[in-house]
């Protein structure tokens, strides 16, 4: 059985009925299969209905779904090959923010992204996708490498935020993030960003400045996690649901504000129900947009990027 979210209980009930019916011996096979078909139709309809109208808080839950595809899943599903490159050359190799040189359908690029991990062991190893300064510095190093050898950059964002640790502060968490922001504004190669899961705060933005920014349909992107925003504004982290509503952190709202360029429609019931299809959707978008961005000269690209950046929140 898949993990069902709170608001998917009615779907879970229907799917359980199907399983029960399939193992039932009370009815004839024909009867069972026609009933199952009907129920399956109902599941599709119900899932469509629920998912066409998710609240921001429900999106948060889908974006954090334990089975949602992560960076390494996408690497496996969309790359012809991927050579991971390690380390920031100063302190260490962050495991929450990964990167390397990849080929996607014959197009070479530098691919970076946050990895949260899925099992408990993996989550700890990847620090729940919360990067320390060396992660941002590694990403910065790889992006400079991309510029040097004229490779486009593809960045997949999925983090609750930068790691809140004593050692992160000692090694300059703020500077590491800030440095990437200024670097990414001036790199002379195309930068393609997709928010695949959680786009949490400065930790997300540190690899999310680019020429084309897309979001998976049920991904979220906000100035702080709903819990952090609730504790800052309401002084009560249990008001996270209200904070998610107030920040309008879901993709369609963000698209309306023109802060992203594109929303990628997810498979029925979210990317976690069909990771292969989700990967295909992401891959098509990457290829289409890389093709478009590679037609710009580097001067045009930079001018276009500056214009975009100075237009964000212009009044």
């Amino acid at each position: 059985m898949e993990d069902y979210l709170e608001f998917e209980k009615s779907i879970a009930a229907l799917e359980k009925k199907i399983i029960d019916l399939e193992s039932s011996e009370k009815f004839s096979e024909d009867k069972i299969s026609s009933e199952v078909d009907k129920l399956n139709d109902s599941v599709v309809k119900l899932t469509k209905k629920i998912y066409s109208n998710l609240s921001p808080w429900q999106c948060v839950q889908v974006a954090r779904h334990p089975l949602r595809p992560h960076f390494l899943d996408y690497v496996e599903k969309i790359c012809d090959d991927f050579d991971e490159l390690h380390g920031d050359r100063h302190f260490g190799d962050d495991r929450a923010l990964l990167g390397g040189v990849a080929s996607i359908d014959g197009i070479n690029c530098v691919l970076i992204g946050h990895e949260k991990g899925r099992t408990t062991e993996e989550k700890i190893y990847h620090n729940f996708g919360m990067s320390q300064p060396e992660g941002y510095r590694k990403a910065g190093r790889l992006m400079k490498l991309a510029e040097k050898f004229n490779l486009p950059i593809v960045s997949l964002v999925d983090t609750p935020g930068a790691y809140p640790g004593i050692d992160s502060e000692e090694r300059g968490q703020s500077e590491a993030i800030a440095r990437n922001l200024s670097l990414m504004s001036s790199l002379e190669v195309p930068i393609l960003v997709n928010i695949v899961g959680e786009g949490g705060s400065g930790g997300a933005l540190a690899i999310a400045v680019g020429d084309h920014i897309s979001m998976m349909e049920f991904a979220t992107y906000s100035v702080a996690s709903p819990e952090a925003c609730a504790s800052i504004v309401w002084r009560d982290s249990s008001k996270a649901e209200l904070a998610a509503e107030a920040m309008q952190l879901n993709s369609n709202n963000i698209l309306k504000l023109k802060l992203i360029d594109e929303v990628l429609e997810e498979p029925l019931g979210g990317a976690h129900r069909s990771p292969d299809q989700a990967a295909l959707i992401l891959k098509r978008s990457i290829l289409k947009n890389l093709d478009k961005l590679q037609s710009y000269s580097s001067d045009d690209l930079l001018e276009r990027r500056y214009k975009r950046l100075s237009g964000f929140g212009a009044i």
């Binding site: 004593i166 502060e169 968490q173 800030a178």
Partner: protein, 284 residues
């Protein structure tokens, strides 16, 4: 947000202040560090640094810039508008209400003030964050005013000095606020490409989105003594990790020791120090 920063404001700043007035009501005040009773005119003459314990008392953006720049030829530049309510944001109060309350409390339209003027006769552009305006938080209008300041510097080939003090990106504009980090950093990079000096002066306190953009990207990073500067606030780190923090954590002295800043400069020495550095740089 108003309440928490009112609590940490020195008491003499809590009273309604008229714009541009740097003399607070009442002639005496307590230092909020050593508790000594200080004579306000004397305190003002000492750049609002406690004459007994050297504590750097928090001051408003306008007072700060008046103290820093030469008295003559000052002119305020950049938009004179308040933040924009992109999300119709409402928590316990509406964002619009918070904005107008902040304007009343601080006497400013937004959390940053930009003035062109001169520093010991050297033409400069200077900006200062106003902490009393929603904790100096950065929303779209703060980003815009910062960008306009940089554009003015670029156009006139002037150095730009920014005094940051801020709780971070402003929650009420969510992603629009987050994007201001990228927007301002892009313009700092533009200054850098144009080989114009950008000096960041860190004033107690700076956290989150402003630390991770404007504050840390100076060609020279300067901090006032004992200023708290970091990405994540100490309370959050303590609660998340369930540890107690080392003595002096995230203070200027800690930043200097860990290589994040170039120097710690006493408030009274900021003018000659920054002037001395700028006159050595070739940029015009």
């Amino acid at each position: 947000m108003t309440n928490w920063f009112e609590k940490i404001l020195p008491s003499f700043l809590k009273k309604d202040q008229k714009k541009k007035s740097s003399i607070p009501l009442g002639l005496w005040k307590n230092c909020n560090s050593c508790n000594s009773i200080l004579y306000v005119p004397e305190l003002e003459a000492n750049s609002f640094v406690c004459t007994k314990c050297d504590h750097h008392i928090r001051i408003g953006a306008r007072t700060r810039l008046e103290m820093f720049l030469d008295p003559e030829n000052k002119e305020e530049i950049s938009s004179n508008k308040s933040g924009y309510d992109w999300l119709k944001f409402k928590d316990t109060k509406r964002y619009k209400t918070r904005l107008s309350e902040a304007e009343t409390t601080s006497g400013e339209k937004e959390a940053i003030v930009v003035i062109k003027g001169s520093l010991l006769k050297l033409p400069v552009v200077a900006a200062a964050f106003e902490f009393r305006f929603m904790g100096g938080s950065m929303g779209s209008m703060v980003g815009q005013k910062f960008v306009e300041a940089v554009e003015y510097s670029l156009k006139n080939r002037l150095p730009f000095i920014c005094f940051s003090t801020s709780g971070g990106a402003r929650m009420q504009e969510s992603l629009v606020s987050l994007y201001q980090m990228a927007r301002t950093s892009a313009f700092i990079e533009k200054m850098s490409k144009a080989k114009l000096p950008y000096i960041s002066v860190m004033i107690d306190p700076i956290y989150g989105g402003v630390a991770a953009s404007i504050a840390m990207l100076g060609d020279i990073n300067i901090a006032e003594p004992k200023a708290l500067v970091g990405f994540t606030g100490p309370r959050v780190i303590e609660q998340t990790l369930n540890v107690s923090l080392p003595e002096g954590f995230q203070k200027s002295e800690f930043l200097l020791e860990h290589g994040a800043i170039d120097m710690i400069i006493h408030r009274k020495e900021l003018r000659p120090t920054i002037h001395r550095l700028l006159t050595k740089f070739e940029y015009s």
